[in-house]
């Protein structure tokens, strides 16, 4: 390990593979918190995971779970199971798990960007936002059971989802149950009383490199899987341009090197929550 990983980061579950992706010999290699790991499927589809910086006699076996279409593990001792997303079980949803995209920045920068409304008119112009409707109205930020909840967000979006045919006023709720995971509930264009659920599950390979898995549980009876994937990819690539050009790559938690305003309340709350939980991996002090 290149750096001592703080306990809050170490003792979390991380998505390290999609359930159905497998390399030759039913193996999949990746990296978690600076450690090389390997996932091996047996004939029954059971996945065993080992860390490669230790020999078998040194206890190289890691825990393995399947959840939300992903394979999860941990290098530490998680206090609880993988966070719940009960909303995804609702009847009529289509579930998507998109394979990882590597982004050369701290996973924390990726989560913070996901929690941000103010960039929509500039980064996702014509899709998730549009000038001159740039104002971010006040929203609520709460800490519930050591999770961050961001409520009462609303924003005008020209094309809120693949299924959206016209601009609508979209309500957002964000939840951060894990330093490297954020779940978004947003108004479904098809059934305005329901929420689509989109989650970002970040695998921090290194402090400044991450793999981002995205899952979604949507109401959409029109678009094909590929059309929905394309919508998602377009948004993702627009964000990646930003993420890979933020300086420094590590998220500053000291509150001195980046200026914030009220519209950044979610970002400020996220940074404070990381600091209060003693997180340092992927963060810097500035």
């Amino acid at each position: 390990m290149s750096k001592i990983v703080d306990p809050f980061t170490l003792n979390q579950w991380y998505a390290v593979r999609t359930e159905n992706k497998n390399g030759p010999d039913r193996t999949h290699r990746t990296r978690l918190l600076g450690v090389d790991i390997i996932c091996q499927d047996d004939e029954n589809g059971q996945v065993s995971i080992r860390r490669l910086d230790r020999t078998e006699s040194q206890d190289s076996e890691l825990p393995s779970r399947k959840r939300y279409g992903l394979v999860w593990t941990s290098l530490g001792m998680p206090e609880s199971g993988i966070f719940e997303m009960p909303e995804t079980e609702e009847e009529g949803r289509r579930h998507f798990v998109w394979d990882a995209v590597t982004v050369k920045t701290s996973g924390l920068r990726a989560i913070e960007n996901f929690l941000d409304l103010a960039h929509f008119p500039y980064v996702h112009s014509g899709i998730l936002g549009e000038e001159p409707l740039t104002e971010v109205t006040d929203y609520q930020v709460e800490r519930i059971n050591n999770e961050i909840w961001v409520k009462d967000c609303s924003f005008h979006q020209p094309k809120a989802a693949a299924i959206a045919e016209e601009g609508i006023h979209v309500n957002y709720i964000y939840r951060v149950p894990h330093p490297f995971v954020s779940i978004l509930y947003k108004t479904c264009p098809l059934f305005p009383e329901k929420f689509d659920v989109i989650a970002l599950m970040v695998l921090p390979r290194e402090e400044d490199v991450c793999d981002i898995y995205t899952t979604a549980s949507l109401f959409d009876n029109v678009n094909t899987d590929v059309e929905i994937l394309h919508f998602q990819q377009k948004i993702f690539l627009q964000d990646r341009l930003i993420l890979e050009n933020q300086v420094p790559k590590l998220l500053p938690l000291g509150g001195r090197s980046e200026v914030s305003v009220r519209a950044d309340a979610a970002s400020i709350a996220y940074r404070r929550w990381l600091l209060d939980n003693g997180l340092s991996y992927g963060a810097c002090t500035g």
């Binding site: 740039t134 341009l241 933020q246 009220r262």
Partner: protein, 291 residues
């Protein structure tokens, strides 16, 4: 004597012609990422390439009138003050005082944008030593060499070149017969004799005097025995310890057609010079930029 770079000096950062109104360019100087941009009216600014809000590189942004707009959240920064003037997410909020980009002193001369990262950089560099009227100095091109600024400056100080005006018919090869250099406090004097490959009897003698100005500008006053004389000027840009920018300029009164071929002549030489510096450990023969 080696070239000592001093942060208190001005450096040629970008060619003016490469930054059109309402455009932004970026590169490093002393390891600092700097964005240089023009307002729609042409005024030029050099800023630290980082938005104070969320660290986004400002060079990905865009220009509206006299404002640079960050791509990430659309924060507007006023050219003259580098101060945030508008935050689209909170249209009624006055930009906080702390939302101010670090700006660097800059001005344009001889087709180049000159900047200093030190606020108290004294007066503009002294160009009088060029010994040439301003309108006869022409920007040729910028090259980037993967070597330290000190070494690049040292090699360029006694570099041998063929002045524009000499016949370089196809197939002609330069063979340097002798070269001698004498270094002194502020530069070097040197001579070289070369022959063209086609006519072995024809020999040309080149005499040069290089003056080092403001530590980072080499002014080479040359004269050959064919009647060509003028100045070849290298303005060095220290990018970091291992990379150096060289802006090549030359003097002379040219028609527009011969100006184009003179530019091509020195541009070709500059490219080969870069190759020679980066590969100077190969055979000594290869160190001749004309082969």
């Amino acid at each position: 004597m080696s070239i000592n770079f001093n942060k208190y000096h001005w450096f040629a950062f970008y060619a003016s012609q490469q930054i059109m109104p309402a455009e932004i360019r970026a590169r490093s100087m002393w390891n600092t990422d700097i964005a240089v941009w023009r307002e729609e009216n042409g005024s030029i600014h050099a800023w630290k390439n980082r938005c104070p809000h969320r660290g986004m590189r400002l060079s990905y942004g865009f220009i509206r009138g006299s404002q640079l707009v960050c791509l990430y959240h659309g924060w507007n920064y006023e050219g003259a003050t580098a101060q945030c003037s508008y935050i689209p997410a909170q249209p009624n909020l006055k930009g906080p005082k702390t939302a101010c980009v670090r700006d660097f002193a800059c001005f344009e001369k001889h087709g180049l944008v000159w900047i200093s990262t030190v606020a108290e950089a004294e007066k503009e560099p002294d160009f009088s030593d060029f010994g040439e009227a301003e309108q006869t100095i022409h920007f040729c091109r910028s090259i980037f060499v993967n070597e330290s600024p000190g070494l690049v400056g040292e090699i360029l100080k006694t570099s041998i070149f063929i002045p524009y005006g000499n016949d370089l018919a196809d197939g002609a090869k330069l063979k340097i017969e002798t070269s001698q250099a004498e270094h002194h406090q502020t530069g070097a004097n040197y001579q070289a004799i070369w022959q063209s490959g086609r006519d072995k009897k024809k020999k040309t003698e080149l005499t040069c005097q290089t003056e080092v100005r403001n530590n980072a500008i080499l002014v080479n006053h040359y004269k050959d025995d064919q009647g060509n004389e003028g100045s070849l000027i290298f303005a060095l840009l220290p990018i970091d310890d291992k990379k150096t920018g060289v802006h090549v300029l030359f003097s002379g009164d040219f028609s527009s057609q011969s100006l184009t071929s003179a530019k091509r002549h020195y541009a070709k030489w500059a490219k080969r010079m870069r190759w020679s510096i980066e590969n100077r450990n190969l055979q000594t023969d290869s160190f001749n930029p004309w082969i």
